[in-house]
Symmetry: C2
């Protein structure tokens, strides 16, 4: 989705998948979350996680990485169809982020997004806000991440 | 704080500060959030942000980086006093994360944490959960990040 009017309530978008190798888990953790259970296999096994576990901020940042790649691909597809493409606006934040299960080394996580509601922004004519829910599951279909987010999108009529 | 019993409701903890240089903003964004307004000064100026802006996930990940460094220092101080030190447990998630203002290149962001409530975990004897609020402000004291979080901590009596 690029323009506000293109958001479709209830439609599930597969955002993509990512395998959290031990190397990637440790690389992120060493920069942003250097706790033993994110850096060392033995410490991970001895923790509540039961294995080398990805930082929750890593799981969340990979969502953003895949979402941007998804938008880039959508934009390419739209341009190939001769359609106008808008840049998404910023996100004001999100609610109720949960990490119900750990992401362990070797897990492949698949992310999906679904818009749940939308409205034009009274305070900023030409823009709308779309609320949605993001979920991520591991290779066994178990939920590892969920949150409710929102994003500002430009309205089509102001850009054409 | 390391043990559940050491959490103090309402006490403000300064977690630390971090300067978001253009170089750091672009390095994070190129890995996890490669949108134009996070990668290019001119695109940032033309966006709603009004300048090269850090990814919100970068602002949040730096909180974790500083928090871990804060815990490591606390543990060193406790050991120097001859006190026992426990490893913090995982976080089940957080609520109501907001990015009320952008973090722009050159901004220095200062993070603080305050515990707001706590209770023993009925489902996991020997552990407790502490709920708190994290805030981050820029060099002008303007709020750029806030969220409510929770963390599992071991109780002292099971570790001594």
């Amino acid at each position: 989705m690029n323009f506000f009017e293109e958001a479709q309530i209830g439609k599930r978008h597969d955002i993509g998948s990512f395998t959290f190798t031990a190397e990637r888990i440790k690389a992120f953790a060493s920069q942003f979350d250097p706790q033993a259970f994110h850096l060392d296999e033995e410490a991970g096994k001895a923790s509540l996680f039961g294995g080398l576990a990805a930082s929750g901020w890593h799981t969340a940042s990979v969502y953003m990485k895949l979402l941007v790649a998804h938008f880039v691909q959508q934009a390419k597809d739209a341009r190939a169809r001769g359609e106008e493409v808008a840049q998404s606006g910023p996100s004001p934040g999100f609610k109720n982020l949960k990490w119900p299960r750990p992401v362990l080394a070797g897990d492949t996580i698949t992310y999906a997004y679904e818009a749940t509601s939308m409205r034009p922004l009274a305070s900023r004519p030409g823009w709308g806000i779309v609320f949605g829910k993001t979920t991520a599951v591991n290779q066994r279909g178990e939920l590892v991440l969920t949150f409710e987010n929102s994003v500002f999108l430009p309205c089509r009529q102001t850009n054409s």
